[in-house]
């Protein structure tokens, strides 16, 4: 059992929680995730380790409530426990002194970027961070990011914060203005795809963090397989980060939609059981 030490809401449909998991915290590196199962009948879902505290033995998870499990997770309170947490899993992000790095985050993907940003900064890199959201109140951890970025650009669809527009516009300007060694992007598939397409003609190395459906997360089932440069790779052990210029995004998107019907069924049953009002379940990313 893993105890939830703190929990708070960060934005509509986005929660943050700090969990007591000393062994996971001790080994967590930027880019790692955990797989958790809330209770005996629960599904195993992957969540990125958004931050970790070696001394206190805690990890921080940020999650967006999109379906049954994440909404159920949203109902937990400080002091409750999560039945199973396994990790840290996945390859850590390769951290070294690159020079100038641009980090592009969208929606909940920004959470994943934070530990990467921290590590890159510790490795003496110059960092530009571009965070995108639909609207101001969906932006999370802006202050934390500011502390580690040489330059922080916020973009919103409606212009309620930062510049109005898409992250790709800000990225294009950055690439044209300075010499960028590497772009790391985490967010909705369409955004990562757009970023990869944008950087390709500039020949800038681009790392994307993929989020296929996973089951156990230890390389034993193949559920998380993705197509990278025509090779099949398992995101949980070979990734989740891959070269954005090689990813077959269309296939990933197809596979993510595979259980749509069952996900809806499960979510609706959950709403009925918890007698909750049907809130809008639209994606905020």
């Amino acid at each position: 059992m893993f105890k939830i030490l703190h929990k708070k809401s960060l934005a509509p449909m986005v929660d943050e929680m700090v969990i007591d998991a000393p062994y996971v915290a001790r080994h967590a590196r930027a880019g790692n995730f955990v797989v958790l199962r809330l209770h005996e009948k629960g599904e195993r879902i992957p969540l990125t380790i958004a931050d970790s505290d070696y001394n206190n033995g805690t990890i921080t998870l940020l999650f967006q409530k999109v379906g049954k499990t994440t909404n159920e997770l949203g109902l937990t309170k400080q002091g409750d426990s999560i039945k199973d947490i396994a990790g840290p899993l996945g390859h850590p992000t390769p951290i070294k002194k690159y020079g100038h790095c641009v980090l592009v985050g969208g929606g909940i993907g920004t959470a994943t970027l934070f530990p990467i940003l921290k590590s890159l900064k510790d490795a003496d890199n110059k960092t530009t961070v571009i965070l995108g959201a639909r609207t101001k109140e969906l932006l999370v951890w802006e202050d934390r990011f500011r502390g580690y970025s040489d330059e922080l650009v916020i973009t919103t669809d409606d212009g309620s914060s930062g510049r109005k527009g898409l992250v790709t516009e800000a990225l294009k300007e950055a690439i044209e203005r300075v010499s960028v060694e590497i772009v790391i992007t985490v967010g909705p598939i369409r955004m990562m795809k757009a970023v990869s397409e944008l950087t390709k003609p500039y020949n800038v190395k681009t790392i994307v963090s993929l989020n296929p459906i996973m089951v156990e997360g230890t390389g034993m089932c193949g559920a998380c397989r993705v197509n990278i440069g025509t090779k099949t790779r398992f995101a949980c052990i070979d990734g989740p980060e891959f070269d954005g210029h090689e990813v077959n995004f269309q296939e990933l998107e197809n596979r993510l939609n595979f259980y749509k019907k069952e996900e809806e069924q499960s979510y609706n049953l959950f709403l009925r059981k918890t007698k909750r009002k049907v809130t809008s379940n639209e994606t905020v990313m």
Binding site: Y23, V24, H27, R37, K41, G42, E43, R44, K68, T69, K83, D84, I85, A86, G87, P88, L89, V215, E216, T218, G219, M220, C221, G222, A223, R225, N227, T232, I237, E251, N254, R255, N257, F258, Y259, E262, E263, Q265, S266, L269
Partner: protein
């Protein structure tokens, strides 16, 4: 060698003892156990057939060398718990082995009676005494062993790991088993379906191992949650690696990543570990299909096919590139699958999975094969006949084999490996690294429950010798079985 195996197997096709099985029409709709085992009367009668050979061949066929005639003599005397106690001197998981061992190639395949008539049904008798304890509630509590003050770690809770843990605990070691998943048992838990090996049987046998004082820590991915070096620092004097070979292989044919193409490992894990057949009561879903093609001919293929049937498929094919004689699966499961209406397409080799405009499986295209003349190794290879055919299916399950579990192996520097990341060991499970032992599928490639247990037994002895300082840990290069 291969040839004689085929002969015994083939012979056993006609001479296998008929246990009681549930009606195929009924059982194919649920996940309850298919085989009902022997009645007491049948068991005693079957035990009476054993000749109590002075030099029992059957024992040589059992990888853990159970004293088979002895345990059978207890059954004959109706002292079932006595029989069980005898088995447990050699094997901690009798209810499991009695159900899943490929007996026709092992103990029963060697039984002297099999030369002329039907061999003694050793597996069924083993299962009978183990189940007797379960139903009679007369649980045998192992005696408490005085601790010897040494700690050893076991990584992976499959049959190999559980065997090492039990054997060392019986010698007084303080044993901790680390398991990556949220349930112990390895393939027994996440791979082999309920209708063949009920989970409560596994739980019960694991309970027995725990009663010996073994601690099992779940959600512990060694190499990630804790490294092997850290385990040594924590005071573990030696460790056994039994992480299995669960990582799926794939054919590399076009269409493998279409929606509704599963690797058997995922399909079976969803159902067995996550209980997806009970969705939405359980949260993990699995896709039910109308018409399913399962590619492969081993136990994993049979299990996948019969699981798909139980999820509600109208039609299930097994697509196998050789012939019935070469099917590597346990014979009993092939018979069971046929009775349940699974259709076998032999000499058929998949070449492409075709999808519809939404990237869902629509058809499977296969080559029709012929067996050519035996090559130097005596093996007849399948070759394309030039003909092809197309199956109308909406789901494809790949069950063509597994390979080494990568996480731990990748985390240890300097470990000698062979093939696709398997650990190189000597006869007793010693790796090239001091204090590190290994056994089971991670050293041999996908094999059997009982061979994993046999490896565990040898490794436990070697670990005891190592910790007690009775050996110099030199590795002998050994041809792998």
């Amino acid at each position: 060698m291969k040839k004689c195996l085929l002969v015994t197997r083939h012979k056993s096709l006609v001479t296998v003892f008929k246990m009681r099985f549930r009606n195929p029409e009924k059982r194919k709709n649920d996940f309850k156990e298919v085989s009902l085992g022997l009645t007491e009367r049948q068991a005693v009668k079957e035990a009476g057939r054993c000749l109590q050979c002075k030099k029992p061949h059957c024992v040589a066929g059992c990888p853990v060398e159970i004293d088979i005639p002895k345990f059978i003599s207890f059954v004959k005397e109706k002292d079932y718990l006595g029989g069980l106690r005898k088995i447990r001197e050699f094997n901690m998981l009798p209810a499991i082995c009695g159900r899943v061992c490929p007996q026709e190639n092992q103990c029963q395949g060697q039984c002297i009676l099999g030369k002329k008539k039907r061999p003694v049904s050793i597996g069924a008798l083993e299962r009978f005494v183990a189940d007797y304890e379960l139903t009679s509630e007369k649980t045998e509590i192992p005696e408490i062993i005085p601790p010897n003050g040494h700690k050893a770690a076991v990584i992976g809770s499959g049959p190999a790991g559980l065997t090492v843990a039990a054997d060392l605990a019986k010698l007084g070691y303080d044993i901790t088993v680390f398991e990556a998943l949220h349930e112990p048992g390895g393939v027994l838990t996440y791979g082999i379906p309920e209708f063949r090996l009920p989970k409560k049987i596994i739980r019960k046998e694991i309970e027995f191992v725990k009663n010996l004082g073994v601690k099992i820590v779940l959600n512990w991915v060694v190499g990630r949650t804790q490294t092997v070096e850290e385990l040594f620092k924590d005071g573990f004097k030696a460790m056994f690696i039994g992480v299995g070979a669960g990582s799926p292989k794939y054919l590399g044919i076009p269409g493998e990543n279409l929606n509704n193409v599963y690797f058997a490992s995922e399909f079976l894990t969803r159902v067995n570990l996550m209980k997806a057949h009970k969705f939405p009561v359980y949260d993990t879903p699995v896709k039910k299909a109308r018409s399913v093609a399962v590619i492969g001919g081993g136990n994993v293929a049979m299990d996948s096919a019969r699981t798909a049937l139980r999820l509600g498929a109208e039609k299930v094919y097994i697509v196998y590139r050789r012939t019935e004689h070469e099917l590597p699966s346990r014979h009993e499961e092939v018979e069971n699958a046929k009775e349940e209406g699974i259709e076998f397409l032999f000499l058929s080799n998949p070449k492409e999975i075709i999808g519809d405009d939404k990237a869902y499986v629509k058809e499977l295209r296969c080559d029709k094969m012929v067996l050519c003349e035996p090559d130097a190794s005596g093996r007849r290879r399948p070759e394309c006949s030039g003909e092809e055919f197309t199956l109308d299916v909406d789901q494809v399950i790949m069950a063509i084999g597994q390979t080494s579990n990568p996480i731990l192996v990748r985390s240890i520097g300097g470990l000698n490996l062979w093939g696709e990341g398997y650990i190189k060991v000597d006869h007793d499970g010693r790796t090239n690294l001091k204090g590190i032992f290994a056994g089971g599928d991670i050293t041999t490639g996908a094999a059997t429950v009982i061979s994993a247990m046999g490896a565990g037994k040898r490794a436990a002895r070697a670990i005891d010798d190592y910790i007690m300082g009775r050996t110099v840990g030199a590795i002998h290069e050994l041809p792998l079985q």
